[in-house]
């Protein structure tokens, strides 16, 4: 289905294009080829750093701490439920390294992979995709800093860099869209609203009340999907794995939504925008 023009890639798609199964990677690659250009945003970059690369760092540190991959697996199994996402990303990585060779070899492979990702992963992504800087997300601007064997992802909360973060200006520029989104969210039945959507609704209220101090509510962490949606509004199509929130934002912003199922045998799902 040739769409032409731009496709916005959200965090889940970029992670999938990196470490998911070859079939999924192929699906994503083919989809991107249908568009004139593929881009993403600084809030996505911030999410990549603090979600994906931070998890890779966790795995890298574990690979240096343990002597056997089975011990490392047990450690990951013991992660608390709140860190399920981390568990899932790490386990997805580990499950495929398992059963290949002896413990030391597997551990070394894991260490090489994770170290390579930490050293060059972000560079590869910034060369591969265009990162739009319209949101002025300060947290996304900084690159991963290497100090000895440690990798510093930079500050993770807007409230800690409120003097440098200009996200309130970006939100002010998109005030009309925010109002439309809030209006749309109000009409959704409460039982169908995810926590993120509820957060977004509340956040827009807070923003309306006091736009200049909005950083203290850490929007990049609490309502990242909303910010990413606003970053993507210049693109007619939005590509994601998680449609729960995106389907609402795309409807308001009049975008085509393309959803990549995690099952590699399934084709992408299309939710076309309404004709004007």
């Amino acid at each position: 289905m040739p769409y032409g023009t731009g496709l916005f890639l959200d965090t889940s798609i970029i992670i999938a294009s990196f470490i998911h199964s070859p079939k999924i990677k192929k699906h994503i690659e083919n989809r991107i080829k249908e568009f004139t250009f593929a881009c993403t945003g600084m809030v996505v970059k911030k999410e990549l750093k603090h979600r994906f690369f931070n998890d890779i760092k966790y795995l890298y540190n574990l690979s240096r701490t343990y002597n056997a991959i089975s011990d490392l697996n047990r450690r990951i199994d013991a992660l608390p439920k709140q860190q399920y996402r981390k568990f899932r990303i790490c386990f997805q990585t580990l499950i495929t390294i398992d059963e290949m060779e002896d413990e030391q070899s597997r551990l070394d492979r894991l260490r090489y992979y994770t170290k390579y990702l930490l050293d060059y992963g972000m560079d590869i992504l910034t060369k591969k995709y265009c990162f739009l800087s319209i949101s002025s997300c300060f947290l996304g601007k900084n690159d991963i800093q290497k100090t000895g064997n440690d990798y510093d992802m930079g500050p993770s909360k807007c409230s800690r860099v409120s003097d440098k973060c200009k996200i309130h200006l970006f939100l002010s520029d998109n005030q009309n869209e925010l109002i439309k989104i809030q209006e749309h969210l109000r009409h959704i039945d409460n039982s169908e609203k995810t926590v993120e959507l509820r957060n977004a609704e509340e956040f827009i209220d807070k923003f309306k009340e006091n736009p200049h101090t909005i950083q203290k509510f850490n929007p990049c962490s609490t309502v990242a999907d909303l910010l990413i949606a606003l970053e993507s509004k210049c693109c007619p199509s939005f590509y994601t794995i998680n449609k729960k929130e995106s389907q609402h934002y795309c409807r308001v912003l009049n975008q085509n939504l393309i959803v990549r199922p995690t099952n590699p045998d399934k084709d992408d799902e299309f939710l076309p925008r309404e004709p004007k």
Binding site: F18, I19, H20, S21, P22, K23, K25, N61, R64, T65, Y66, N67, Q92, T93, I95, T96, I97, M100, D102, Q104, S105, D108, R109, Y112, Y113, K115, Y116, D119, Y120, N149, P264
Partner: protein, 190 residues
């Protein structure tokens, strides 16, 4: 008596006895991270290791001794020989020869992998990526373009002194011919 303990991560001493077979210098292997110590001092060293583990220092690779350099060069030479055979077999569309050459290349890569502890990290990364990208390739089905690229990769990047540019070059070349160096990380058993 000599025992082998890790300089950073492994402790192979139990009850003051050595449970690791003492390898000669020719044995590179995982024990290339290891350094010989006197058994009487093992308790002291064990304590030091624990402290070092806490600091998460990565063991620096030892420099290869001459016999190890000889072995590494021998396996690299074998790989290059078999890569040429692979290219010839691909040009002649001889599936059996393609398969044989491919399997020997993988075998030599496996041997080289054992020397990762005495080589720079970038070298180990390259061998890892090559092994992971090639190990489930059906060499009988390989195309002329793929075999020529494999040859270029091994000639250009598989040498003793490697750096980050070499790793990126290997990755790019492998991905350009449809091989996935990340497949070990990304679920090839789907």
């Amino acid at each position: 008596m000599n025992a082998f303990i890790s300089t950073g991560e492994n402790v192979d001493i139990k009850n003051n006895s050595c449970n690791t077979i003492i390898s000669s210098e020719i044995e590179p292997l995982k024990s290339s991270y290891y350094a010989p110590i006197n058994i009487e001092t093992s308790n002291i060293v064990e304590k030091q290791i624990t402290e070092k583990e806490k600091s998460r220092d990565i063991p620096k690779p030892k420099h290869p001794v001459s016999s190890q350099i000889y072995a590494i060069n021998k396996y690299i030479g074998n790989i290059k020989l078999n890569v040429n055979k692979l290219v010839d077999a691909t040009n002649e569309d001889d599936r059996i020869d393609k398969g044989n050459a491919g399997m020997l290349i993988l075998e030599c890569l496996g041997k080289l992998w054992e020397y990762r502890g005495v080589q720079p990290e970038s070298w180990g990364m390259i061998i890892n990526f090559l092994q992971c990208a090639l190990y489930n390739v059906i060499f009988e089905d390989i195309t002329i373009e793929q075999s020529n690229t494999i040859k270029t990769i091994f000639e250009k990047y598989l040498h003793v002194a490697t750096d980050s540019d070499d790793i990126n070059g290997v990755l790019e070349s492998l991905e350009n011919i449809g091989f996935d160096p990340w497949q070990v990380l990304s679920g090839f058993r789907e």
